[in-house]
């Protein structure tokens, strides 16, 4: 399976979560906060805290710890509060 992380191709395994993929790619943060612009990554690991938000296929606010990667996913860093990208 192949996905991209901020445009770079990244190998992925079936069943891997987006958070595990990012951590395996040596990323510890993939979002910055709305007010302070501070980096965030994994925190609770089980879908409770919403710290691990990431943009997947143009859709923001996806919890990286809960989302399982799918072939062709485009994953990118989320900056503050984002609106979904217009897509056809």
């Amino acid at each position: 399976m192949n996905v991209t992380v901020d445009g770079e191709p990244q190998p992925a395994r079936a069943g891997q979560t987006v958070a595990a993929l990012l951590l395996a790619a040596a990323r510890v943060s993939w979002r910055d906060t709305r007010a302070g612009g501070r980096p965030r990554g994994l925190f609770c690991g089980i879908g409770v805290c919403f710290d691990c938000l990431v943009v997947v296929n143009g859709i923001p606010d996806v919890r990286a710890c809960q989302r399982v990667v799918a072939d062709g996913d485009e994953i990118r860093t989320q900056h503050g509060a984002e609106l979904p990208e217009a897509r056809s």
Binding site: R13, A14, G15, Q16, T17, A19, A20, L23, A24, V28, S29, T33, R34, A35, G36, R38, P39, R40, G41, L42, F43, C44, G45, I46, G47, V48, C49, F50, D51, L53, V56, I59, D61, V62, R63, C65, Q66, R67, V68, A70
Partner: protein
């Protein structure tokens, strides 16, 4: 007519409940947001089948069980008799999830718990995670959160976390227990938990083999780094958990795992209007809540580990299906509760933690509310009560809806104003799981009932 039982949560409690209800003749739907059954305790590596979980094979083969994984329950709605359980199936937080409303004559809530984290300077740095996060990552994904990891907090759960970290190749630099450890166990807890002692001895041997120091009455009081944690300060604590001056030590690490007990995942129980006692769902000996036809089992009703959760699940499932309390499960549950009470005694959260955060430490991670801002809101604006505190400081108004900061903010504010802040007020959320705007706007008639 066959009773329809919906069980929410497929951890030890929910799996037992589903099997007990189906064995008693009910038609059961078991729902979990995860891709597979097991919950936290029996979390499986990605792609593993349900046969790896106790009862899992029987569950999939049972003619009266419908298993709905990758499915989140976002709210429950009372009906004239029974409940309507609204679910969405599909990729987590993805578009195009499929909606359904399940009719339940009886409902069993088994939604479990999550780690409690306490605020300290730097706890919002990437690399600082909960103990459960490290555990889920190790068990479910086979990777370590870091290479040099500190584990700190309170409770026996820190030990299996250290074990899993070692198992996936991390170096655990220290395990810090803020309470007194096994010395705090009461005799009745020791008797009720004698099975657990062998397990704990196993962890102790493992830590010794890997030269991992286990220190009591010590914790992490600061994490340092620019864009991620690179070191921590640890310190000795007195019995109230105030820092003992002069005992601070700096340690290089690339990850920190913190866990100060667990908080129950209450929102569905609250939206079903179940009464709470001391922050947990109140249940009768049949595991029925204050709402007729709604049962609760597992960590929702008290923190007591997987065996107690399973015993409660068996009782809840059987009773939800209209049977009498299964005696063997009742005995197990009683023993489990004695042990749980002993644990609660031995591993409390002491008020001295409130001295750890600095004025600029975030209390609410989502809305980025600092300790200083919370104090000002509580004192100067006289925010008595959780609701006014939320409105004046924005604490708990973010995406996690106060799950992470709710109890902490309530305890801090009570210290400032002497007011009473019911932390379970923070669990009053209309929706238990996030929905996409488009999903909310969807015509409910189109849901396939």
């Amino acid at each position: 007519m066959t009773r329809r039982v919906v069980v929410v949560g497929a951890g030890p409690a929910g799996v037992s409940a589903a099997l007990a209800a189906a064995d008693a003749g009910a038609q059961v739907t078991l729902v979990d947001s995860a891709p597979t059954v097991g919950g936290q305790f029996h979390r499986q590596p990605a792609g593993a089948g349900p046969d790896k979980v106790p009862g899992g094979s029987r569950l999939v083969e049972h003619p009266r069980v419908r298993l709905l994984t990758d499915t989140v329950v976002w709210t429950v709605e009372p009906l004239h008799s029974g409940h309507l359980v609204h679910v969405r199936t599909g990729q987590a937080d993805g578009p195009g999830r499929h909606g359904e409303a399940l009719t339940a004559d009886a409902l069993v809530l088994a939604t479990g718990a999550y780690d409690r984290a306490l605020p300290f300077p730097g706890w919002d740095l990437p690399g600082v995670v909960t103990a459960g996060a490290a555990q889920a990552l190790a068990k479910g994904q086979g990777i370590a959160i870091g290479d040099r990891v500190l584990v700190a907090g309170t409770g026996p759960f820190l030990l299996p976390v250290a074990q899993s970290l070692v198992g996936v190749g991390a170096q655990v630099v220290e395990v810090l227990e803020a309470n007194g450890g096994i010395r705090g166990w009461t005799p009745s807890a020791l008797v009720a938990g004698r099975g657990k002692l062998a397990e704990l001895a196993g962890y102790a041997r493992l830590l010794a083999t890997h030269r991992v120091p286990y220190r009591t009455r010590r914790t992490v009081i600061a994490a340092h780094g620019e864009d991620r944690v690179t070191s921590v300060t640890t310190a000795a604590l007195d019995r109230e958990w105030r820092v003992k001056p002069g005992t601070e030590r700096r340690l290089p690490v690339d990850a920190v795992c913190v866990g100060f007990g667990f908080t129950p995942q209450l929102e569905l129980a609250v939206s079903a209007r179940c009464e709470l006692v001391d922050g947990f769902v109140e249940v009768t000996p049949t595991q029925e809540t204050s709402v007729p036809g709604v049962f609760a089992a597992g960590e929702l009703t008290g923190i007591g580990g997987a065996d107690l959760a399973a015993a409660e699940g068996t009782i809840a499932g059987a009773c939800a299906a209209g049977q009498a309390i299964p005696e063997a499960a009742l005995r197990k549950a009683r023993r489990g509760r004695t042990f749980a009470a002993g644990l609660a005694n031995a591993y409390p959260v002491r008020p001295g933690w409130r001295t750890w955060p600095a004025d600029d430490t975030l209390v609410c991670r989502c809305e980025e509310v600092t300790l200083g801002a919370l104090r000002t809101a509580a004192r100067e604006r006289d925010a008595l009560g959780v609701r006014s505190l939320k409105l004046t400081s924005r604490v708990g108004l973010g995406l996690c809806q106060g799950r992470v900061c709710g109890r902490n903010a309530a305890e801090l504010a009570a210290g400032y104003t002497g007011g009473h802040y019911d932390p379970s007020d923070t669990a009053r959320r209309p929706i238990a799981a996030p929905l996409r705007l488009g999903e909310l706007a969807e015509d409910p008639e189109k849901e396939n009932t």
